[in-house]
Subunit: 319 residues, 2 copies
Amino acid sequence: MSNIFNVHILGSSAAIPTSTRYTTTQVVNYRSKYILLDCCEGAQIQLRRMHLPLLKIDHIFISHLHGDHYLGLPGLIFTMHLLGRKKKLHVYAPHGMREIIELQYKISRLEPGFNIQYHLIHEARQLLYEDSFISIETIGMKHGLPSFGFLINEKPAPLNIRKESIEQYQIPVPQMQDIKSGKDLRLPGGKVVPNEEITLPPTPSRSYAFCSDTGYTEEYLEQIAEVNLLYHEATFLHDKVDVAAEKTHCTALQAAQIAQKASVKQLMLGHFSARYDELAPFLDEAKSAFENTILAVEGSMVEIGIESNVYKTSEEQTQ
Amino acid sequence: MSNIFNVHILGSSAAIPTSTRYTTTQVVNYRSKYILLDCCEGAQIQLRRMHLPLLKIDHIFISHLHGDHYLGLPGLIFTMHLLGRKKKLHVYAPHGMREIIELQYKISRLEPGFNIQYHLIHEARQLLYEDSFISIETIGMKHGLPSFGFLINEKPAPLNIRKESIEQYQIPVPQMQDIKSGKDLRLPGGKVVPNEEITLPPTPSRSYAFCSDTGYTEEYLEQIAEVNLLYHEATFLHDKVDVAAEKTHCTALQAAQIAQKASVKQLMLGHFSARYDELAPFLDEAKSAFENTILAVEGSMVEIGIESNVYKTSEEQTQ
């Protein structure tokens, strides 16, 4: 559990919510750090329904300022305030988000009891967040107004020391960090044991790319190459490719082509137009170009780095 | 059906939505004219779930600018635009609503394809709307910022002409309107038949008062006297009467006292604090002071003027 890296789907509809689908919102849980990607109208309700810890969200990333991607943010912030939040909240968004939120505080005469730090997103490949374990950077989308995807990269893990080597050489704890970072072992008598003899390769780093909203472009192929999981918008089926192009959105087939060209491990489709009740055709269409595809299903959780073609509901996960 | 006057409950939670309750929102259906009272985050989703015709809403009344009463309005307007609305929309709200909406259009670079007429609510007993059948005026609430209830009054109906009189005197159609408005019948020979001999009293006018949010006050008792249905906020149970007073809200008992003092026909409680999972105690408490009380139950519909102590789900209604 300590190594957890998964994504919870709160909404998967494009532009207009339906009676069964909220609009784009996801929660990434990285080692119990909860990160919100976009914040649809009703996101706070979905957080409660999915038993996700609303007050543990400290970082919110807004891809762009179309209503279906940010309208839940004022309400979520109001609720955090009413629930007594004191911790700083970080909001990463293109220009305008702060103005929208602050106007509403002013008019509602509510001053949140915690500090909000706004981080302005203004370009592709902008490093937004970094800690010991992960980094988060923007991906440039092709859309009607400034729009950004997010790439979450796990940093390289340290080398693993072979269990039998620890016993054989009685390696002292203080030296372990050095060995994990690649140094050789110096024994008390002066003998040197080469690092590669006593270590195993690190656990592979994992990565998640969130690409919404965008028309078809190959500009970010290199940036998302070989990610473990690519979430990509697929607003339409391919018979509507012209409508998709006009509205700077993608089809399921185009999303799959991106996944195939970027050699990602697994593709998840979302941002489905409200005109579609049935989503199975999206899966069929995408699989014709990229087999390891799943749908973003509301209420589900997908583990990153597991690459199995299944997802679990949040309920299943907590059981 | 043509005489329909009912209210659909889309949300009944105060301040914070819960996993089972949206915040305050109601749709009044008067003879297939759909009127929205407040517009919570997720209102557009509730409209769809309850099979209420989103595009037939032409008049939206916002009681005050606390988030739980208006946060769904930007999204509802965006959706009306995306669904191709062309008809003018009327929004009645205190100062600030227009600024909040228009800032978001500007930043999202979306211009709705229909005209929005904003009507500024600024005082109690302000006549906001009037047509041949109903009038809607404000009720002054006692709250932290300018807050208004709404009183929907059906205009007096015309007199009913007795069926047997129509046959007996062979009353010509052109004269019927005159008789319905109180005039006597003049027969071809010059004889006059007094109006009261050939008419029955009109169908009683119906009325609905929506009172949210407010601390306890008797200022509007006279204005809401004898309404058929009073919706009144009841944020807390009476053991929290001090908290209620501090936050300018009411308890279930206070709402019932208002109902009793105003001699209303039926009381409906709502705006329940998210701290309460169980709502039965609200009903019990209110009934101790005013027997004909019901709860605002999400998804339910209450007929106005029917004064029976039951409500139906929207599903039951459409069957």
